[in-house]
């Protein structure tokens, strides 16, 4: 029985100098290669990346190409519902998808602080690949830099991507029209509160999970149900309020929200009440705002409800003509109205 111990033995790819990222890992030499092989190639495995070139080559018949880039910094890098890796992939996938394009290829650039644990880098690469797989995209090129301790906060990831549109459909922020219906794909503010809770700064516990995830599949479902969607946008930093203000200005329309229709997770609402935040301004990483003609709104809503990322989707408002500077207004739950402005600077907890 003694020999059996070695039956499944394979020689592991050595990670020289234990399990921390060192300056040497960013030098371009042997250590860099080992790191790239054992972490990135291992997880992101695909033929284009395996070519081992400094570029990624691919072809497409599409005439409309969409590209986007996004830098990701988050503290903490692991939080309930996700991590910086999932965020980095979903972020760029979502930005591309908001045009109606189907995202296909991503590149990823890592800036790593000296001393970062390699097993954490593994976890991040793993969840990037998980998310890429879910979204049906490939990570085809990358770069790794290591900076001295204190020159970066653990890890920063920038991703860029390319997607293709194979039809003539136009979707962008300037196309909202009077009478259109505003739909959100689910509850507001989950990501922001989950991250805040993960920092242990709340002074109380929540079970709120970040909503971070790729929205391209949900969006294709939405476009099948409502082929004439005018605007799609993901309400990330600055939240739903800021995103709607951007759309109002781009389309030169007023947006009228119904407070009582806004979907908010109970725990998110409670955390916001305690901290003096408004869920309308708290970040989301896995939600989409759709603005679509009224005749397609019911079909769109139903299709969203049937999708795993759209179960709490709701109609939250409508588009009206603007009689001056474009604005977002809200009918409050007691029957009043008020302005919903853009977020100015950082959101600050109130004193009382």
């Amino acid at each position: 029985m003694e020999e059996n111990k070695f039956d499944n033995f394979t020689c592991p790819i050595p990670i020289i100098n234990d399990e921390k990222v060192t300056i040497g890992h960013g030098s371009g030499g042997t250590l860099s290669h080992n790191l790239i092989n054992s972490v990135f190639y291992k997880h992101f495995e695909n033929p284009i990346l395996a070519g081992g070139n400094d570029f990624a080559e691919f072809s497409s018949n599409a005439t409309r190409i969409v590209t986007s880039t996004d830098g990701h910094v988050v503290d903490p890098i692991f939080f309930p519902g996700g991590d910086i890796g999932r965020l980095a992939v979903a972020g760029t996938v979502n930005d591309i998808s908001m045009s109606g394009a189907i995202p296909q290829y991503l590149t990823a650039s890592f800036i790593i602080e000296e001393g970062f644990a390699i097993n954490e880098l593994m976890q991040i690469a793993h969840s990037m690949q998980d998310c890429a797989q879910e979204a049906g995209v490939q990570i085809v090129a990358g770069d790794t830099k290591v900076v001295e301790k204190g020159k970066a906060d653990k890890i920063f990831i920038s991703t860029a991507g390319i997607g293709f549109i194979e039809n003539n459909r136009m979707i962008n922020g300037s196309l909202a029209e009077e009478g259109d219906i505003v739909i959100i794909s689910g509850t507001m503010g989950d990501h922001g509160i989950a991250v805040l809770a993960a920092r242990n700064q709340l002074g109380f516990k929540t079970t709120v999970q970040s909503d971070v995830g790729p929205m391209n599949n949900l969006i294709q479902t939405a476009l099948s149900a409502s082929p004439h969607i005018h605007v799609m946008r993901d309400p990330t930093r600055g939240g739903v309020a800021t995103t709607l203000n951007e759309i109002a200005r781009q389309s030169r329309v007023d947006i009228i929200l119904e407070e009582q229709s806004l979907p908010v997770h109970k725990q998110v609402q409670a955390a916001c009440d305690i901290l003096g935040f408004d869920p309308l301004y708290v970040a989301n990483e896995g939600k989409v705002i759709f603005i679509t003609p009224q005749r397609e709104a019911a079909d769109l809503l139903q299709a969203l409800h049937e999708h795993q990322y759209g179960k709490s989707a709701a109609i939250i408002g409508k588009i009206e003509t603007s009689n001056g500077s474009p604005m977002v207004r809200m009918r409050t739950s007691i029957g009043g109205t008020r302005i919903v402005d853009m977020l100015s600077g950082a959101m600050l907890p109130r004193i009382c």
């Binding site: 700064q201 709340l202 002074g203 407070e259 009582q260 901290l275 003096g276 009918r331 409050t332 739950s333 007691i334 029957g335 009043g336 109205t337 008020r338 302005i339 402005d341 100015s344 600077g345 600050l348 907890p349 109130r350 004193i351 009382c352």
Partner: protein, 359 residues
């Protein structure tokens, strides 16, 4: 509280009932910035019968913290040996030259905390640094701030101190009512302040100036209830103190909290930003706790201050002007570039107008 979808019907009924008892215009001041915020956020202020004019009071601790203290905070926070801790909304309040956010951008260790106990823990974990907490607020926050100092003494955490800017509501009411150009005919008193202090301090004010005072909460129904009680007294030509927030406020307040306040603080004259000095309107640490007084610990005596010449926040805080009567409102002065503290805090009247009521 009724479910949200039922609220609008009930509010409409309450407002109709209010209209019925009104025979003439009345001017009511809501003292607390939290109430100003709630009136604007819910849209309730625009739904009130036109006979009711709301005047926004000075009850925003961020807004009334004196320029001199903000400048002192900036000076202390700029020191290499200091971790300066504060509630978030003080960070953007403009001082004469700078604000705490700018101190942080220049490398100062300025941290947002959610309670003074968090600041005390920071002091405990950083024994080689001085941790200072910006202790602002009305009677509401005084007990928790006082406890942090009591605990610091018990646990012998000597590197903790508090820059105290505590203010009290009743002296401000005296100042407003005795001003020559006063227009305030009645008050909605701040429910959470009264949860600590009770109603006793308000009877002499109601009597002396013959104004009705109603202790009022912060939900839309609380606010209407408060206005209703106030209008009843005004219309009946009576002046008394009514409690429209009984589910929270006991007549004599919270005795235990009052004891903690009295153990740690003593009354002092206090400068209110935009208003000026109001006698006996503040609290400072008493002799037993002077060791924890950041003003005494750090030599920041020689501060010369200067306010924006355009900003009319003083007149707004006294209820003499409305935010949209300021020439700088929404143009030179915005939440991104505030000239005065009333545009900074979410409880400031200018910020509430800007966020919810701009046309």
């Amino acid at each position: 509280m009724p479910e949200k979808h039922a609220q609008s019907d009930l509010i409409a009924k309450a407002l109709a009932a209010l209209s019925k008892i009104l025979t003439r215009p009345w001017t009511i001041m809501e003292i607390c910035g939290g109430q100003t915020h709630a009136f604007m956020e819910t849209g309730l202020s625009a739904m009130l019968p036109e006979e009711i004019e709301l005047i926004h009071g000075p009850g925003c601790p961020v807004c009334v913290t004196s320029l001199e203290l903000v400048d002192k905070a900036v000076a202390i926070a700029s020191r290499d040996d200091v971790i300066f801790t504060s509630y978030g909304d003080m960070l953007r309040v403009p001082g004469s030259e700078s604000d705490l956010f700018s101190v942080r951008a220049r490398g100062g260790d300025v941290r947002v905390v959610y309670s003074p106990m968090e600041a005390l823990e920071i002091a405990h974990r950083n024994p080689d640094k001085e941790t200072v907490f910006f202790g602002i607020g009305f009677e509401t926050t005084a007990p928790s701030n006082a406890i942090s100092v009591i605990k610091a003494k018990e646990r012998e955490i000597d590197n903790y101190s508090m820059l105290v800017s505590h203010v009290r509501v009743p002296p401000a009411m005296h100042a407003i009512l005795s001003a020559k150009n006063n227009r305030v005919q009645s008050f909605l008193a701040a429910g959470h302040v009264c949860a600590v202090m009770g109603m006793d301090e308000y009877y002499p004010i109601a009597k002396k100036y013959q104004v009705p005072i109603t202790i009022t909460g912060f939900e839309p129904f609380d606010l209407i209830h408060g206005i209703m009680e106030t209008v009843r007294m005004l219309e009946n030509n009576t002046y008394n103190v009514k409690n429209a927030y009984e589910r929270v406020v006991a007549p004599h307040g919270n005795k235990q909290a009052q004891k903690i306040i009295n153990d740690v603080f003593e009354e002092c004259d206090r400068q209110w930003r935009g208003i000026g000095m109001i006698p006996n309107s503040g609290w400072k640490l008493n002799a037993n706790y002077a060791h924890y007084d950041a003003e005494l610990k750090f030599n920041v005596g020689n501060i010369t201050t200067h306010e924006s010449e355009i900003c009319i926040s003083g007149l707004i805080l006294q209820g003499l002007k409305k935010p949209d009567q300021c020439p700088a409102f929404g143009t030179l002065c915005t939440p991104q570039n505030p000239l005065g503290a009333t545009m900074v805090s979410s409880e400031g009247a200018c910020a509430a107008y800007y966020r919810y009521g701009r046309n």
